[in-house]
């Protein structure tokens, strides 16, 4: 009985070996005769396509389709309603610290009391004098705020009631050379809107990026609907894509949410479209780059946000830098959530005025995973499109680690979250435990849809092991990608901080 079972298993194994060998031989033959085995399905064994699990939308012809399995959706209460709130801001600021890579004390073009127009140069970095950082609004420069060691933290402008723009004449995209386009973008203040990866810093004008990636949807907790953010600016977006396509030797790639497959995004020209479905962080551009065309050792790629692309396009369609932005006010501590029409760098206090409930709240510029804690006198970063409010969690809970069987956002199964599948959590900032050494394994990998081992990367960074860091893929990551791992961390380790340390170490090497 046993021996017959063994013989049958042996025969099946033999058959599998024969099939595998012949499959590989066929592929070798195909390669020899020049057939591209990645595109064609050569071989005996049919290619199982897991992408077929989520059906490819019929309209999505061309472009690739990715179904990301790892990830975790943090369903928080306080989603933005689709209404526009009447809140406005009268002061705006440009924040040098938002742009990684520039010196702490940039050189100013303007001084306090001077009148500026929207798009007019405000300051520049000493080592890159051609790249201009432009004013988001027109008005009077009222304050140059300084932080630690006299570093400039905000250049504050009191906005005019009606904006006057610093007009520019855009070169013709089809006729201008790359150098002319780059010089134009630097002069008009649009250059700082481009992020370079690896390291997530200001792009370097001498470098040719391999590709440009734009993620058109945001899966962060309570993130705004990007279709609302870009509404009315579709032509500007297309113009921006056209301009960007001239700047790279590769292509412009759009990461599109699978559910937005039939929208106008699918018909954008000069761009390759890639459809993503999956939980957060499927909307992160770093994850999308990894699945479309990962960053290799000496590559640099550029990334931009959806509103930034429209701003660049407006240079060509409207003749000025469009600094208007839509910002979402989200979170359970707001009376009414919604969207606001404003400009880059708006004042937080004025936008959230009379809208906050509760007294012990934290205001975050950005989302709860990657945002920056702000006070009412602070300003939004130019590239941030949401303000989140959550409760501060500075309370002691009796037997808090054992007893709470009420649902709480968690990637583990130790809370009865499965009983409340559509429950929106009211989260707070309590750490729910103290910092410990790395103990659990596999929890980072289960939420990060990349072929990277995050825990070992963190250990390599902490050990200052440059070769190991690079080998394990630090160049493919930015803080926003590792943020979901930091959320899931049982040992409450500061992963984003460790990653930034590692990225800075790698940057110094160059």
């Amino acid at each position: 009985m046993l021996s017959t079972i063994l013989i049958i298993i042996g025969l099946i194994l033999l058959l599998a070996v024969i099939m595998n060998v012949s499959d590989s031989l066929l592929q070798i033959e195909a390669k020899k005769s020049g057939i591209d085995i990645d595109k064609e399905d050569i071989g005996i064994i049919p290619k199982l396509s897991f992408d077929g699990m989520v059906s490819k939308p019929a309209i999505a012809k061309g472009g690739s389709h990715h179904n990301l399995k790892q990830g975790f959706e943090i369903k928080l209460a306080g989603e933005a309603s689709h209404d526009f709130l009447p809140a406005t801001s009268s002061t705006f600021a440009m924040r040098p610290m938002d742009y990684r890579g520039i010196a702490p004390i940039p050189k100013l073009f303007v001084e306090v009391g001077q009148e500026v127009k929207a798009g007019q140069p405000l300051f520049f970095n000493k080592s890159t004098p051609d790249i201009v950082y432009a004013a988001p609004v027109s008005g009077e420069v009222v304050e140059v705020r300084r932080g630690a060691k006299r570093a400039i933290s905000d250049v504050v402008i009191l906005a005019d009631k009606k904006l006057t723009h610093h007009t520019v004449t855009a070169p013709d995209i089809n006729k201008a050379s790359r150098e002319e386009l780059v010089a134009f973008l630097m002069k008009s203040g649009a250059w700082p809107m481009i992020n370079k990866r690896p390291f997530d810093v200001i792009a370097s004008p001498d470098e040719m990026p391999r590709d440009i990636f734009i993620s058109t949807f945001d899966t962060a907790p309570l993130a705004p609907d990007s279709m609302i953010l870009i509404k009315g600016k579709e032509k500007d977006f297309q113009a921006g894509v056209n301009a960007l396509a001239q700047l790279t030797e590769g292509s412009v790639h759009l990461g599109i949410n699978n559910s937005a497959a039939g929208s106008w995004l699918s018909s954008v020209n000069n761009a390759e479209k890639h459809y993503f479905s999956g939980k957060h962080p499927a909307g992160n551009v770093g994850i999308q780059i990894h699945h479309i065309n990962p960053i290799k050792s000496n590559d640099s790629v550029w990334t931009l946000g959806i509103q930034e692309v429209a701003s660049i396009g407006a240079l060509f369609t409207k003749g000025y830098l469009d600094t208007s932005r839509k910002v979402a006010l989200v979170g359970d501590e707001f009376e009414t959530t919604g969207y606001v029409d404003t400009y880059m760098g708006a004042n937080i206090g004025e936008l959230v005025k009379n809208n906050m409930t509760g007294d012990n709240t934290r205001i975050i510029a950005g989302d709860v995973l990657t945002g920056r804690t702000v006070a009412t006198e602070d300003f939004l970063s130019a590239k941030t499109d949401q303000i989140t409010t959550i409760k501060e969690g500075d309370y002691n809970e009796f037997l808090g680690w054992l007893v709470p069987i009420a649902p709480r956002p968690s990637t583990s199964g130790t809370f009865p979250n499965f009983l409340y599948p559509n429950h929106k959590f009211i989260a707070d900032t309590n750490t729910h435990g103290e910092k410990r050494a790395f103990v659990a394994s596999g929890d980072y990998e289960s939420v990060l849809p990349m072929d990277i081992y995050p825990q070992h990367l963190m250990k390599a960074i902490l050990a200052n092991d440059y070769e190991r860091m690079e080998g394990l893929g630090i160049n493919e990551l930015s803080e926003e990608d590792i943020a979901i791992c930091e959320f899931a961390c049982v040992s409450k380790q500061p992963l984003q901080k460790i990653l930034r340390q590692g990225l800075d170490m790698m940057r110094e090497q160059l």
Binding site: L2, L6, P221, S297, N298, R362, V368, L369, T370, G371, T388, D394, N396, E397, F398, L399, G400, W401, L402, P404, P409, S410, T411, S412, G413, T414, F415, A427, D428, T429, N430, T431, H432, G433, E434, R436, A437, V439, A440, S441, G442, D443, E445, D451, Y453, Q455, H456, R468, G471, L472, G473, A483, E486, F487, C489, V490, S491, P494, L495, Q496
Partner: protein, 416 residues
């Protein structure tokens, strides 16, 4: 709120009395979760922390504890031929089991936590939670009659040499609970191997030996007298002729599967009413605990599954070889004997000592099953191979991870 205020008032000074402060901190963080808020990085954190993760392992072990306690008493009375039915003499068996178990748990906790507190006080950080699980696992892998001083020495060895010397929780290379057992195994082998040690309450298992009861038994006797039920009576309870405290595994060595089935039925071996270490006998309760850990994602199902596959593969190979009686035991019956399920579910899956990459976990678990089965079958001096196999693979788990990471790095380089 009252308790919280009391706690805040009695906080001892950290510099002046570090040990008191560490004790206070351990008690405070046990009673109350800390009020620290996120600062930099993410603003909200997962609800799971290390304490909660550890307590779920302890919860998963509770069924094994309950059954093991009762089984101690059951085996004691089976040896004397009394109360042969599982539920007969319920009160006697339960109390006898508790009298054996509670001192073991107390000694484990006091010695282990005491050492941890001393080290934490010296280093100036909080008492870390690693010992919650180890302290619950150690009683379950000990024979019921283990002398308490031996237990204390082994725990001191395991915690000091096996854990604190490497840096505390999260830094140890070897499984702490297994280190304590392996210490006793090599230092005091007669207390943990052979046929005499798995049944408690008798000086030796020779026919006619009377049960040795202590003051605790006398205490409960007065209670039982009041209730009018059977009492502990060393005159009445004596080892019967022909009783050997042999575990199924010991029987299989000498006589193969036939010898095992002569003495124990399959149902007995499955449900666990057999002599053995305290927690390892009852397979269904271990499986329930393991399922609980898998569902809550606290333990890795990959390790459990691949250990089972590795053990099965090796058992099949040994069946094919068939040189000794134990090799002839059909491969599916190998799982009924010994502590495979316990080792695979709770020992092998310790996240700190196992491989950390998913591919590594498959290899690690498979090799544990594979090598453990070899040790069990080939060498009758090592009655159970899992302890040694797991410690062996703990040594190599980082190496397995190293190769998985090297493959990942090479793949990344080749992309370039």
């Amino acid at each position: 709120m009252g308790l919280l205020d009391i706690f805040k008032k009695i906080e001892p000074d950290k510099k002046k009395s570090p040990i008191l402060h560490t004790l206070y901190d351990a008690a405070f963080t046990f009673a109350y979760s800390p009020d620290s808020v996120t600062d930099g990085g993410v603003h909200i954190r997962d609800g799971l922390d290390l304490k909660r993760m550890m307590i779920h392992v302890v919860l998963a072990l509770q069924l094994c504890f309950l059954f093991g306690t009762y089984n101690i008493g059951h085996q004691h009375f089976v040896a004397s031929g009394e109360f042969l039915g599982f539920l007969e003499g319920f009160h006697l068996k339960l109390i006898h089991g508790l009298i054996q178990l509670v001192p073991i748990v107390l000694v484990t906790m006091i010695v282990g936590l005491g050492i941890e507190i001393i080290f934490a006080a010296r280093k100036g950080h909080a008492v870390e939670e690693g010992f919650i699980v180890s302290g619950m696992l150690i009683p379950l892998i000990m024979p019921p009659d283990i002398p308490l001083w031996m237990l204390a020495v082994s725990i001191a060895f395991a915690v000091i040499v096996g854990k604190e010397a490497f840096g505390g929780t999260g830094m140890n290379i070897w499984n702490v609970a297994l280190l304590s057992r392996v210490f006793i195994f090599f230092a005091y082998p007669t207390t943990i191997s052979g046929d005499q040690v798995w049944v408690s309450g008798y000086e030796s298992l020779a026919a006619g030996t009377q049960a040795s009861y202590g003051w605790a038994h006398g205490l409960f006797n007065s209670l039982f007298e009041l209730m009018g039920v059977d009492l502990f009576d060393s005159a009445r309870t004596a080892v019967v002729d022909g009783y050997s405290g042999a575990t199924p595994l010991a029987l299989a060595y000498s006589g193969g599967w036939e010898a095992v089935t002569e003495k124990f039925s399959l149902a007995q071996m499955w449900w666990g009413t057999i002599p053995g270490s305290i927690g390892e006998t009852s397979k269904p309760f271990i499986i329930i605990g393991a399922l609980m850990l898998i569902v809550t994602k606290v333990a890795s199902w990959r390790i459990m599954l691949s250990a089972t596959i590795g053990a099965a593969v090796m058992a099949l190979i040994l069946n094919a070889w068939g040189a000794t009686p134990i090799m002839d035991v059909p491969w599916y019956y190998q799982f009924y004997m010994g502590s495979f399920f316990f080792a695979a579910a709770f020992m092998a899956t310790d996240p700190v000592t196992a491989s950390t990459t998913n591919t590594g976990k498959w290899i690690y678990g498979f090799l544990i099953g594979f090598i453990g089965m070899i040790i069990r079958v080939m060498n009758p001096a090592y009655p159970e191979g899992w302890m040694l196999a797991i410690l062996f693979l703990n040594t190599f788990s980082a190496l397995i991870d190293h190769y998985v990471l090297e493959a990942n790095m090479k793949k990344r380089l080749q992309r370039a």
